[in-house]
Symmetry: C2
Subunit: 311 residues, 2 copies
């Protein structure tokens, strides 16, 4: 896992993800030759949200580019919980599907935890199950079969740029199940000292000012001011916020949770877009490959996951 | 859940645990009347470590005092992993056993994670399983059937003394599966901003000095100096360390991780012994009662756990 050389301070997620996709494409090609199997990703998409449809299109495009076949399960916005769970179960039972993702958010009348809970641990492509999350958090013992993709992408990006995590003070903004909580666990597993701030934290600025590594995942455009960043800190901006911009072709642009001027203070910073976003999809594909290997009994997935990242 | 009145700064775990045991005794008595069932605790003890034997004696004494019957599985120090796992499975299959604990540490030739992994999630008295830990960490979704006892005891003690957790900065020293990691998750679930320090943290003192609530769980006698404590902070000392003391009857005494003079700086502090220790056993019994209710299908254990503590 060689480091990319970067002349600038940018943690280039687009370029890094491209390199990972190429590695995965080669590994998948070898797998097909040796075992006659191509990894399969089951995708459950409910309703017509344009953002969800766009994410699924991006994931499908990357999957097909690297040799992962996609099995779609599309349901109408009005589909009830039982119908969605039934769709998950069909993918659970499909031997050609090695990983399943349910595109979130689900419609308001559906209990997401019940739908996600229906995915077999062995096919949990997003690593969101309680068992996988518990394994992520616990020291020792079996490793998770898959790690949540955005957090794994943050860590992988730092590691490929040889950013030291051990011994650093990492401050995570946000405690969501999808980003904040698992990224804190992964940073701690890499021997960072981790502080997690959230909506009930009175003095976020005071915590951010101490961060050697800042991971912002709260979904508030430019919430973190450049003046809060400790000089030389590493900034990972997970936020992808849409803000009005009459000068943009679509009338909006995407911005992160961190003010753009932070680039003048930080030693490394992820751009938005082109930072964590592409890494997320690459790590999803890495999870699918690991789950496929696990299903084939080829290799100890624990070791594979440990080798690829931050366990 | 009324607060105890304390004239001093002491968070009196012994008195609080006594009150909880009395509550549990009454609840168990009602359960026996209504359902003809008494909660059963299966205890696996391997070898002859005096400390382990002592812990098991204490747990057994409390269990019997409140109406929990104990089913012992004692194995020789030389017992191999298969024999220990088989003992766990027998307790899994015993309908009179509602919760199982394996007294740690196990002999060095045994993989603890495999033995603990053999306990059914529904009988995981210590709340150590990956699934229970994942549920503890995740926001929303099903709650854990049991919560790790020492962390749950810390939170329960703070809550019974009406110590405000929400919005406070909590610093946890230690990241063990048994204490540090789950107590950090519980504090965060109570809306504290949490920092976890560990063996790779370069400047523990600097973090401790910022703590509104300090939980010390590193097992180093008097490691935390009184001068590190922020005036008015709440100190929960989980350490139970044996130090030589020729003046003591047994030649040693038990001390915590925090210097005794911290009591002059903190607003509240747990004594060692008599602080977190008795709370741990009380929370174990609370877990057993919840697991018994779950087995009987009486009550939503999620709600019971949420009502009793920090979910």
């Amino acid at each position: 896992m060689s480091a990319l050389v970067s002349a600038s301070k940018v943690l280039d997620g687009a370029a890094t993800a491209k390199a990972i996709r190429q590695e995965l494409r080669e590994e998948i090609s070898r797998l097909r030759l040796s075992h006659g199997v191509s990894p399969g990703l089951g995708v459950v998409l409910v309703g017509n949200r344009p953002d969800s449809a766009s994410y699924v299109r991006m994931k499908t495009k990357v999957a097909e580019e690297i040799g992962v076949h996609v099995v779609d399960a599309r349901l109408d916005e009005s589909a009830d919980q039982e119908a969605i769970v039934a769709a998950v179960r069909r993918l659970n039972d499909d031997p050609d599907v090695h990983g399943i993702l349910v595109q979130l958010p689900l419609p308001a009348h559906v209990d997401e935890s019940i739908v996600l809970g229906a995915i077999l641990d062995d096919k949990d492509a997003d690593g969101f199950s309680a068992t996988n999350m518990g394994r992520l958090v616990l020291r020792g013992g079996p490793r998770p079969l898959a790690r949540p993709c955005t957090p794994a992408g943050c860590i992988e990006l730092l590691q490929r740029y040889n950013v030291t995590i051990a011994g650093k003070h990492a401050v995570v903004l946000g405690r969501s199940n999808i980003v904040g909580t698992p990224v804190a666990a992964l940073l701690q597993a890499c021997d960072a000292t981790v502080t997690v701030c959230h909506s009930r934290t009175p003095n976020v600025e005071g915590h951010v000012k101490q961060a050697d590594i800042l991971v912002a995942a709260i979904g508030k455009p430019h919430y973190v001011q450049a003046g809060w960043i400790k000089p030389g800190a590493v900034v990972v901006d997970v936020g992808i916020n849409s803000v009005d911009d009459p000068t943009a072709k679509r009338g909006y642009r995407l911005v992160g949770d961190v003010d753009l001027n932070a680039k003048d203070v930080a030693s490394y910073i992820t751009p938005v877009p082109g930072g964590v976003g592409p890494m997320t999809i690459a790590m999803l594909m890495s999870n699918i490959l690991n789950l496929t290997r696990h299903a084939l009994g080829i290799v100890d997935v624990e070791d594979a996951a440990a080798g690829r990242g931050a366990s």
